[in-house]
Amino acid sequence: MMTPMLITAIALAMLAGPLGCFVVWRRMAYFGDGLAHSALLGVAVGLVIGMSNQLGMILVAILFAIMLLWLRAQRLLATDTLLGILAHAALSLGVVAMALLGVEDAELHDYLLGSLDSVTADMLVYVVLGCGLSLGLLMRLWPGLLLMTSSEELAHAEGVPVRTYEFLLMLLLGVLVAAAIQIVGILLITSLLIIPSSTARLFAKRPETMAIGGSVMAALCMLGGLPFATAIDVPLGPAIVTLSVTLFMAVLTGRLLIDRFSSRFKKSN
């Protein structure tokens, strides 16, 4: 019973580490939130067309990204305004559609906060396959993405297809959201991306260390979140996030203490 859950958690964590780094570096937290909000509409679309939830979510995520990129190119409104409009539109449409389709409130609750018994064996295949392919693609794009994160014009001048890379990064985020949503829940999915990576940032000196560190942190929190959620009977999402924030605070305190002692040490020399 627990094994599919464990495998899923590890696959998700491996992808969430490096992807989360880009969310932090490129300030895409609000975008991740928007994408998560659109996932509910994806579930509804999946129900209507009769395909799996995950495919419905990825489809809606792609539409979401295309609409955002298109609207942004019109230069009429700021990106965060556009995201606010799109995200809440998608969430509201999703809730309305779910109600019309007769989905029960309890199930809606599971989508919002994640649930323990959400992982089934056939979903496991999707998640592991999706995360594996995504991780492979992300590793190929890694140097170019890093370069365009430092400067888009510079990356373009050196031949990186910046627009394509940006779209692929959004697509990868869409895949992760679709894969993780039933575990972590729509409301908390962004924290799975940014808290572990931010924790790793506290000690990382190279981008790759931060990515791998983020994965390790995410894995620890998800694996710890399972028994934690079971023990006190809360939804899985909040259990995982509570653990990851605790870990973040602990590493932050350690970091600040080390900094203070090392600067004292320097002064006394």
């Binding site: 400067s151 014009e153 510079l154 981008p207």
Partner: protein, 251 residues
């Protein structure tokens, strides 16, 4: 004459109703050294982004010579402090530079001592030299710089422009640079192009300094100062873009 490296024809770019670039044509050939000047908001950076083909114009064309390599030093480079990126790693991103090649590049751009520092902690002058090293890493045909010295103090500016001059003399490349530092630009003898949405004038600094449009834009004082500096005799400012090389390297 060999095929130009970058050729822009009749570029028009419209933003919020106004024309930012109005029929701008510019040709960069081999071993050219062109400095682009103009007041704030004249469209210099926009022109550069179009010459890079980073943006597409409303009308007009930009042609790059086949397989051209461009080294670019952007105007604004603000790396997010959450990205832990040592200079050495930055210089090897997305290219396959060996450790020795990185050391050589750093030496050429005068930033050997910075290789193990995080990119986000560099001062303005240090960052410019690192960006220059990055721009050189592809062994470019063209070095394109957008106001590379704007955050430097006067001695830093002087050193940076000298560094660019040295690179131009040593390497087989062309330079296209946007600059705000009129006194530096106008005291050199390189080709100057003055832009204010359209190309106002171009040529050697002494002829540009006497152009009525230049005088109107930068004040009669500047023009007078140039006249004293360079006491040139001929008054033949041309409105077409001749590419007379004042610094032709002899074979």
């Amino acid at each position: 004459m060999s095929e130009p490296l970058i050729e822009a024809r009749d570029l028009c770019v419209r933003r919020q109703g106004g024309l930012v670039l109005d029929n701008v044509s510019l040709t960069l050939g081999e071993r050219d050294f062109i400095t682009l000047i103009g007041p704030n908001g004249a469209g210099k950076s926009v022109l550069l982004r179009h010459l890079l083909k980073f943006e597409s114009p409303n009308s007009g064309t930009v042609k790059h010579r086949h397989a051209i390599r461009i080294g670019y030093v952007p105007e604004r480079f603000q790396i997010d402090p959450t990205l832990p990126l040592p200079v050495r790693r930055f210089l090897t991103l997305n290219n396959n530079q060996s450790a020795d090649a990185v050391e050589a590049l750093a030496a050429e751009a005068n930033c050997e001592g910075l290789l193990d520092k995080p990119l986000a902690n560099l001062s303005g002058g240090e960052l410019q030299r690192v960006l220059l090293a990055r721009a050189l890493s592809s062994d470019p045909h063209v070095l394109m710089l957008d106001e590379p010295a704007q955050n430097l103090d006067v001695s830093g500016q002087l050193q940076f422009y000298q560094l660019i001059d040295e690179l131009y003399e040593k390497r087989n490349l062309s330079v296209l640079m946007v600059s705000h530092d009129l006194h530096m630009v106008m005291s050199s003898t390189r080709q100057v192009v003055c832009l204010y949405h359209h190309i106002c004038c171009s040529g050697a600094p002494d002829s540009v300094a006497r152009d009525p449009e230049f005088v109107q834009m930068f004040g009669a004082e500047m023009a007078q100062m140039m006249a004293v500096y360079q006491h040139s005799h001929a008054h033949d400012h041309t409105h077409d873009h001749d590419h007379a090389h004042l610094h032709e390297i002899k074979p």
